[in-house]
């Protein structure tokens, strides 16, 4: 028998997700589903003041409630953490200010939602009743609410022991300043824009929760948490509480989304762990939806100032960016680093030689910010893509033409950017051309002109957003240069069992993405087995002890590559055994469709199953070879990956009401090679809607007292499927040369691209009425008022 046929490839096919049956039938177990008899339930008493001294905490009424056993203040709890405090892993400058962040505040509450006391109770209901009954006596202090308030002269201090509200100033400019100044002095066109990135509430389907369970024999602890980062959480919890890492296991059960807000080490995780160790009993907490709005990190929160200098043809010669970024009251795990992730990308996908970026980050009396889908890159893309449209107007060319004149050329890769990155691959013009054709931009413009001419109150607008982002976080040495407190590698183990079933252990931590399906497809193709014969284990440090988890669109490019390489390593070992069995040289062996065969000797072949069994029995292995087929790889990527694309939004704006209807949305993305296009599309759909949500719906609104006004999902408008546009997607793959599969990542692309496409479309629809900018979210009232203002005052 000869093997001539390649096994049909799974990679590239629209395979249904193996995760879904359990999720869709309710079989999957989330944190609140865990049955833990005898657990102590924690209710957290949260500050109702943005800034106040805590004068007294009266737990009498709470203790009178049946089932409420203890009320503990920050003072009472202090011995539990001693010198420990919630960690920030990213000291971006040596002089960055990092105020001590205790899991439960002592003395002063710094934001609405700050934990000021806890109630321990027999049930979740009693815990909630108890928390509501605790009376806290506050002495209000002046609050710093808006970013610009924080840097105003004579601003009150968020942290009295610091001499200002400034956390750090970080810049990327080298010795560029004189050259940049000269470019602006010589420019034929200068664009100078100021944009606001409102705060966003991540609102994953499942809020947070955790449960700490001591081992029955004592001395060891298992922390269950709805987290994206069990591995990092384990290290951090061990360090903060001084628990031996060998005594600690962290498990993320099924996790209902995160979008970055579960990439953190939270007060409740430390609190439950410490209490469980102290009490020798399980201690658990489940976050409420309204609680989540203030107690989980928020995203964005920036004031952006971007300037472009361009020559007479609209070729941009320099970009200068100044940011003010809102850290909130404290630094969470990577809070200070988020603006920096965007800081490398404010020149967008354009070949711009001179670049200056500076970010000043400030404390405010609001919930801490941190990574939220895109983390810095949606902000950067928004600023450059809005500014490029302004430049197009100034030069008198179309949005697609201004982009074409400035794109990094397809022949320029690998391209060293002015910010010091090396972009891996791309063909930005081809991507844009595909999008323009798909969106029927010419047809839309004709309709736009016709509606304008007829005086219709339903205006059409077409908006562009071309983006490039960096993901596949990250080369560990690059992270070192950015003072990040960890590496960027990922680990994988691949084992083949005696009966030739495959076990993959990954350090990535899926929470909705579909890693089990994709990892199975990758491994199945390489080994010639069925994807259903591959099991993927993850999210439990006892099973997957080594890993750096899932965020920053890193899983496939780093974790998937580790899986790919571990599979190759297993095949190498199998090949040695096959050569031994076939009495052939390894160099003469082919491996295809799960069978090793000797080139030119068709009868000489052995299936992987046979080798798996032989490796297990170990009766006849090459001299010195260890039994079993198993390999471990830790992969540290040599570079980031740089997904890119062009999105085109078409909107209809009702000028009578200001209502914006997103009538069409075209996205052409280059995320490199696609493992499963079905999953890619799902990520892009959700990402686009999340970006469009920032453009049109979502806004964490605070009043001047620092109260979150949009604190529930009636007022904080997360869009639903009914608000989603018609998505029309295409792709263009330029495989990344950074990794063997040529993959880039797609988890954040939609969110990074969408907001500027939508707002550019709204402005395009209204430009003939004199509208040049609309703040996000472009609510009907905001749009109506922008029209009225442009027309010379409200009607």
């Amino acid at each position: 028998m000869t093997i001539t046929e390649e096994a049909p490839g799974h990679v590239g096919s629209r395979r249904l997700r193996k995760e879904d049956p359990a999720l869709l039938t309710g079989e999957a177990k989330f944190i609140d589903d865990l049955a833990l008899p005898g657990a102590i339930w924690v209710g957290v008493v949260r500050s109702t003041e943005a800034h106040a001294n805590i004068v007294g905490i009266d737990g009498a009424a709470a203790l009178a409630i049946d089932g409420v056993n203890e009320v503990l203040s920050g003072e009472d709890l202090a011995p539990l953490w001693g010198e420990g405090a919630l960690p920030c892993a990213w000291p971006v400058t040596p002089d960055m200010k990092n105020p001590t962040h205790l899991p439960v505040a002592r003395g002063t509450a710094k934001y609405v939602g700050d934990a000021v006391a806890v109630v321990l109770a027999d049930s979740r209901y009693a815990a909630a009743d108890g928390a509501a009954a605790v009376v806290v006596d506050y002495e209000p202090l002046p609050a710093v609410v808006e970013i610009t308030d924080a840097v105003a002269d004579g601003a009150p201090l968020v942290h009295a022991d610091l001499d200002s509200n400034e956390c750090y100033t970080w810049g990327l400019w080298g010795d560029n300043a004189p050259a940049v100044d000269a470019a602006f002095a010589e420019a034929a066109h200068v664009v100078s824009e100021r944009y606001l990135q409102q705060r966003l509430i991540p609102a994953p389907m499942e809020p947070r929760g955790c449960a700490a369970v001591p081992s029955p024999a004592g001395g060891e602890l298992t922390l269950y948490s709805a987290t994206q980062i069990p591995h990092i959480l384990k290290v951090m919890t061990a360090v903060v509480l001084g628990i031996g890492e060998n005594k600690l296991r962290v498990v993320a059960p099924s996790v209902g989304g995160g979008f970055g807000c579960k990439l953190n080490v939270y007060a409740e995780e430390i609190l439950c762990s410490a209490l469980a160790m102290q009490r020798g009993a399980p201690v658990r907490w489940t976050e409420g939806r309204a609680e989540a709005a203030v107690s989980t990190i928020q995203g964005r929160g920036q004031v952006q100032h971007i300037e472009l200098a361009a020559d007479a043809d609209g070729k941009v010669t320099a970009v200068r960016v100044k940011l003010l970024a809102d850290m909130g009251a404290y630094l969470q795990l990577v809070t200070p680093g988020v603006p920096l992730l965007g800081g490398f990308l404010y020149h967008g996908c354009y070949d711009i030689g001179l670049y200056m970026f500076e970010c000043t980050s400030v404390f405010t009396n609001r919930t801490p910010t941190d990574a939220y889908r895109g983390a810095g890159r949606p902000e950067a893309t928004y600023a450059i893509e809005r500014a490029m449209d302004s430049l197009a107007v100034s030069v008198g060319v179309s949005p697609e033409e201004i982009r074409a004149r400035n794109f990094i050329g397809a022949d320029a890769f690998p391209y060293e950017s002015a910010a010091g990155l090396v972009f891996d691959s791309g063909d930005y013009q081809t991507v844009l051309d595909k999008a323009v054709a798909l969106a029927d931009v010419d047809g839309r413009r004709a309709e736009q002109a016709q509606r304008r001419a007829s005086g219709s109150s339903k205006r059409i607008g077409v908006g562009f957003s071309s983006y490039v982002e960096m993901c596949g976080l990250a080369p560990s040495r690059v992270l070192a240069s950015l003072d990040y407190g960890a590496g960027g590698w990922e680990a994988a183990t691949v084992r083949i069992s005696p009966t030739c079933k495959v076990q993959v252990v990954t350090g990535s931590t899926p929470h909705g993405q579909g890693h089990e399906t994709c990892w199975s497809m990758i491994v199945a193709d390489k080994l010639g087995v069925d994807p259903d014969d591959v099991e993927v284990l993850h999210s439990d440090t006892a099973v997957s002890p080594t890993g750096l988890d899932t965020y920053g669109s890193r899983s496939l490019a780093v974790g998937g590559t580790a899986v790919y390489m571990a599979t190759e390593k297993v095949i190498d070992k199998a090949r040695a055994i096959a050569a031994h069995q076939l009495e052939a040289s390894e160099d003469d062996l082919e491996f295809s469709g799960g069978v090793f065969s000797v080139r030119g000797t068709p009868e000489a072949e052995v299936p992987l199953a046979g080798i798996a069994f032989a490796a297990f029995t170990a009766h006849d292995l090459p001299d010195g070879m260890e039994p079993n087929l198993e390999a471990h790889v830790t992969y540290d990527p040599p570079n980031f990956t740089f997904p890119n694309g062009t999105h085109i939004a078409t909107v209809e704006v009702d000028t009578d009401t200001g209502d914006v209807d997103l009538i069409d949305y075209v996205a052409v993305d280059d995320c490199g090679v696609q493992i499963n296009p079905l999953i890619v599309e799902g990520q892009v759909h959700g990402g686009i809607l999340q970006g469009a949500a920032q453009a049109l719906y979502e806004d964490a609104v605070y009043n001047s007292d620092g109260q979150l006004v949009s604190a529930n999902l009636g007022d904080y408008l997360v869009p639903s499927a009914a608000e989603a546009p018609r998505f029309r997607l295409d792709s263009h793959a330029t495989p990344s040369p950074t990794n063997p599969m040529g993959v880039k990542g797609v988890g954040e692309a939609g969110t990074i691209a969408a907001a500027p496409a939508v707002i550019n479309a709204v402005v395009d629809a209204l430009r003939d009425l004199g509208v040049t900018d609309v703040d996000m979210p472009a609510s009907p009232q905001t749009v109506w008022r922008a029209i009225a203002d442009a027309q010379g005052g409200a009607s």
Partner: protein
């Protein structure tokens, strides 16, 4: 999002419900579809100590037509209004407004009696009943009374209903005349930022979320009766009103929306 503790009683009949209300005083609340009351309890904005569940009184789920009147039992679900062939025939406006309430889950639980009793100025069906010139039938310990919709609503979440009274039926005249309902919101499942109900070719016009109660736009009605055009009549839609300010709309924008939507509704209802 966890409500305060409460006791729960199941009413076997309207009389039983009323006697339970009497027994527990103003700490008790009727529970119908629960889609207004339970959210308020979860936010602890409402903390009744006893819930009297009338949701199982199926004899109050009916739509009857005759003698120029449509009579609807208080426990009739929004979805039943939406899908009733009889109602589509006798009062298409009510059926069509019911279809715009919230989302399908909300419409399968929420009741007509509940939404009227809740007296939320942002709700759709109260304004429709008001524009239609409907009547609310309420029963208390002393018997039953009929209240004109125009007299029913007194303030934010307040009505003339006594603590121990229960709505049993809602009546509207058959035939909506030239009618239209305009609902302006940002997400499909949301309450109206502003809504306008026009019935009887402009004889009845009411506004949603333009004050502390659903309101009749009497200026618009008078203008239409006097032969004004839709545009002229709509221009006075917000006159004399004190609309709320919230995250979606301030008073100025709401007033503007009321005028725009009233003109659209009048046009669609056949007023030139």
């Amino acid at each position: 999002m966890i409500p305060a503790a409460f006791d729960y009683e199941v009413a076997e009949s309207v009389d039983h419900a009323i006697s339970l209300l009497g027994e527990h005083g103003d700490d008790a609340k009727l529970l119908a579809g629960g889609h207004s009351l339970i959210p308020m309890m979860r936010y602890r904005l409402a903390t009744p100590s006893v819930l009297v569940d009338v949701g199982r009184l199926d004899d109050l789920r009916y739509i009857r037509t005759g003698n120029g009147t449509v009579s609807i039992g208080a426990l009739t679900r929004h979805s039943e209004l939406e899908h009733s062939a009889a109602l589509a025939e006798a009062c298409p406006m009510l059926a069509s407004v019911a279809a715009l309430v919230g989302d399908p889950a909300v419409r399968h639980r929420g009741t007509l009696g509940g939404t009227i009793a809740h007296a939320d100025p942002a709700s759709d069906l109260p304004a429709a009943v008001l524009a239609l010139g409907g009547t609310i039938v309420a029963q208390g310990p002393g018997g039953s009374r009929e209240i004109a919709a125009t007299d029913f609503f007194t303030g934010y979440f307040e009505s003339v209903l006594a603590d121990d009274e229960m709505i049993t039926e809602v009546r509207v005249p058959a035939g909506s005349g030239g009618w239209n309902y305009q609902k302006f919101n940002r997400r499909a499942q949301d309450w109206a930022i502003v809504g306008v109900a026009v019935a009887g070719g402009g004889a009845g016009v009411s506004l949603v979320n333009m004050g502390s109660t659903p309101v009749r736009a009497s200026g618009v009605e008078a203008a239409v009766a006097g032969g004004a055009s839709a545009a002229e009549a709509a221009a006075v839609a917000a006159d004399g009103l004190d609309p709320p300010d919230d995250l979606n709309a301030d008073a100025e924008y709401r007033s503007h929306l009321a005028r725009v939507l009233t003109e659209r509704a009048l046009n669609a209802a056949g007023v030139a």
